[in-house]
């Protein structure tokens, strides 16, 4: 019974992390109709930046420094996403390029981003980069079961982030604008929604989500961030199911 509970917590927390990644793909797809293969790369770069900030600028100290590093990573990932959106995606869209062309472009981007992240890991001389997160490798006893702290944190923070996102989508102006764009991209500008802005915000959010996911991906199962954290192995399966189902359901990012 306790085993079951343990599996449950493990599974749900890991699922929450992957769900966040999938959410990133879906938000981008819904806002700009692009399946971005570069998401893994953004994740990798975001995570690497967190480590970099942690290692170079905010070494030691307790929680405060860790969260500062996370902030740096988030900023980098967000600006990266926005730059990608503006510089590349917009360009291609204004030339009315085919979707496949844009997607291949994102593939190229992903190659560059992941290579950069791998290079970063390699040049640090270590195999795994420790993000030095506040929950470390400890484990607490919950209801008589030892659960790793990292998982609890993943679950907790994940829930907070997801809830915040849903509330934002539901109640704020921006959120409504994004849902409207997702529902009907042609009618939205008629209602006064600026598609460019929405697109940009979508990519930014996706970048942020990816970075947060990167934190937890490197917390468990194997502690530390290595070259394969942004890798394809696990992401696309989530991506596939989420994008395909979203398209067919034709629902908002919340779906």
């Amino acid at each position: 019974m306790t085993r079951l509970f343990q599996f449950l917590v493990d599974g749900v927390s890991t699922g929450a992390v992957y769900a966040r990644i999938a959410l990133g793909y879906v938000i981008i797809f819904k806002a700009s109709e692009v399946v971005t293969f570069a998401h893994g790369g953004v994740l990798a770069v975001g995570g690497y930046m967190i480590w970099y900030a942690r290692d170079r600028w905010f070494k030691g100290g307790g929680q405060g420094n860790f969260w500062l590093a996370v902030l740096v990573g988030l900023l980098v990932a967000i600006s990266l996403s926005v730059v990608v959106e503006r510089l590349f995606i917009r360009r291609m869209q204004s030339k009315s390029a085919s979707i496949i062309g844009i997607c291949i472009l994102t593939l190229g981007l992903d190659v560059i981003l992941e290579t950069y992240s791998n290079y970063g890991v390699a040049s640090s001389g270590k195999e795994l980069l420790d993000l030095d997160n506040p929950w470390g490798l400890g484990a607490t006893s919950v209801l008589g079961v030892r659960v790793s702290d990292a998982r609890i944190a993943a679950l907790a923070i994940g829930t907070v982030v997801n809830t915040a996102l849903f509330l934002w989508l539901k109640y704020t102006d921006w959120g409504v604008a994004m849902r409207a764009t997702a529902t009907n991209q042609e009618a939205a500008p008629l209602m006064g929604i600026r598609l460019g802005r929405v697109s940009m915000v979508a990519w930014a959010i996706a970048g942020a989500l990816a970075t947060i996911a990167a934190i937890f991906l490197s917390a468990a199962p194997s502690p530390g961030f290595d070259g394969s954290t942004g890798d394809w192995r696990s992401k696309p399966s989530r991506q596939q199911s989420s994008v395909v189902s979203t398209h067919h359901a034709a629902r908002s990012p919340v779906g």
Partner: protein, 372 residues
């Protein structure tokens, strides 16, 4: 093109170039795969990431069908020995191609009905399947460590190592890589001609029609599902052939070489060479495959690249990835036809007259322009 060919024929005779033979052989193998992917992506407009699956089918299938009972012994337990069927190499190549066609056909309910980008995502599934299968079907694939490929030994086209002093052609000892080079070159030529004729004929035009607009195409009588599935199958067969060549060129195959990275590399080859340009695919394949070796050998002159043992600085493979990733992006943003397109522009600018040739192939760039 002819000039390139002459150079290609000459290659083993020049000592300087001979060092390049192994990567060049690998590039030739990739070229066939790139041609296949170009048929699917450049002509039919379908994004498929499943190429490595079929390449693996080719490589592993060939090893399986043509090796006899593989005597990888010396302390290996009986249960670990790899199985084989021991067919004649040419026969096993044919069998493997048929196998690839069958597998492509099995996938065709998806390949035929799923459009463009979604095919890309679905085909990703195949690539992961590859990795999983190859690691786990140990009796056939040798699991993580892979298996050796039996040397091609067919009559006069055999590439068995020859004893020194026995096969010297104009002063150049003709060892294995040299003979393999000619063999692969012949195969590439055949594939190119085959693909070109296919694309110039009715199937080619049907594929381009369905790429450029599905409704008009079906109005003109192109059966969308059938042609999409057919394009997928054909490209699968080219990929399998590429796998066979790769196995021969490499001598040893492991599951690691058939992952998503290979998938992206093939796409890069096709885009860099030029979608819709078969000759371009060959050039693209050369570019992508040779780049890491090129960088390794001339590493000192290239900034950022580190020597082999220096941890600070890019490894040649990483630098090569940056380069071809960046090239893909730049090409997609600016020049659609890839290298072939650039060549076309240059030629037109040089001639400054409208080309009087009637071009059958309309290359519609990925960014929407039509480049006649």
């Amino acid at each position: 093109m002819a000039a390139l060919y002459a150079v290609a024929l000459y290659v083993p005779f020049s000592v300087e170039q001979r060092n390049w033979l192994t990567p060049l052989n690998l590039a030739m193998a990739a070229a066939v795969g790139a041609i296949g992917l170009n048929i699917l992506l450049g002509f039919a407009g379908q994004l498929s990431l499943a190429h490595p699956f079929f390449v693996a089918v080719g490589a592993y299938g060939y090893s399986f069908f043509s090796s006899g009972y593989d005597p990888v012994t010396r302390g290996v337990a009986k249960s670990d020995r790899l199985s084989g069927v021991g067919l004649h190499p040419l026969l096993s190549t044919v069998v493997v191609l048929m196998l690839a066609a069958v597998l492509g056909a099995l996938f065709s309910p998806i390949a035929g009905r799923v459009k463009g980008i979604y095919l890309g995502i679905a085909s990703l599934g195949l690539v992961f399947l590859t990795d999983h299968l190859l690691q786990n079907v140990k009796g056939v694939s040798g699991g993580f460590n892979g298996r050796r490929v039996p040397v091609y030994d067919v009559g006069f086209t055999s590439i068995e190592k020859c004893r020194p002093k026995e096969c010297i052609v104009s002063g150049v000892p003709f060892g294995q890589p040299e003979k393999l080079w000619y063999l692969l070159l012949a195969v590439v030529t055949l594939s190119f001609i085959l693909a070109r004729n296919m694309m110039r004929g009715r199937p080619g035009r049907a594929l381009q029609a369905l790429r450029d607009g599905e409704t008009p195409a079906s109005v003109m009588g192109v059966n969308l599902v059938r042609y999409r599935a057919a394009a997928f199958m054909v490209s699968a067969m080219f990929a399998a052939m590429s796998g066979v060549m790769y196995a021969l060129a490499n001598g040893n195959i492991t599951p690691a070489e058939f992952g998503v990275d290979t998938s992206v590399a093939f796409l890069a080859m096709v885009v860099i060479g030029g979608l819709g340009s078969l000759g371009g695919s060959i050039v693209g394949a050369l570019f992508v495959r040779i780049l890491p070796d090129f960088i390794t050998r001339h590493g000192e002159k290239i900034p950022f690249v580190a020597a082999a043992d220096n941890p600070n600085g890019l490894k040649p493979l990483a630098m090569a990835r940056f380069i071809y990733g960046g090239t893909v992006i730049v090409l997609l943003l600016f020049e659609d036809g890839g290298l072939a397109g650039l060549l076309r522009r240059a030629r037109r600018a040089a001639l400054r007259v409208r080309s009087s040739e009637r071009r059958v192939v309309l290359v519609r760039g990925l960014a929407g322009q039509v480049d006649p």
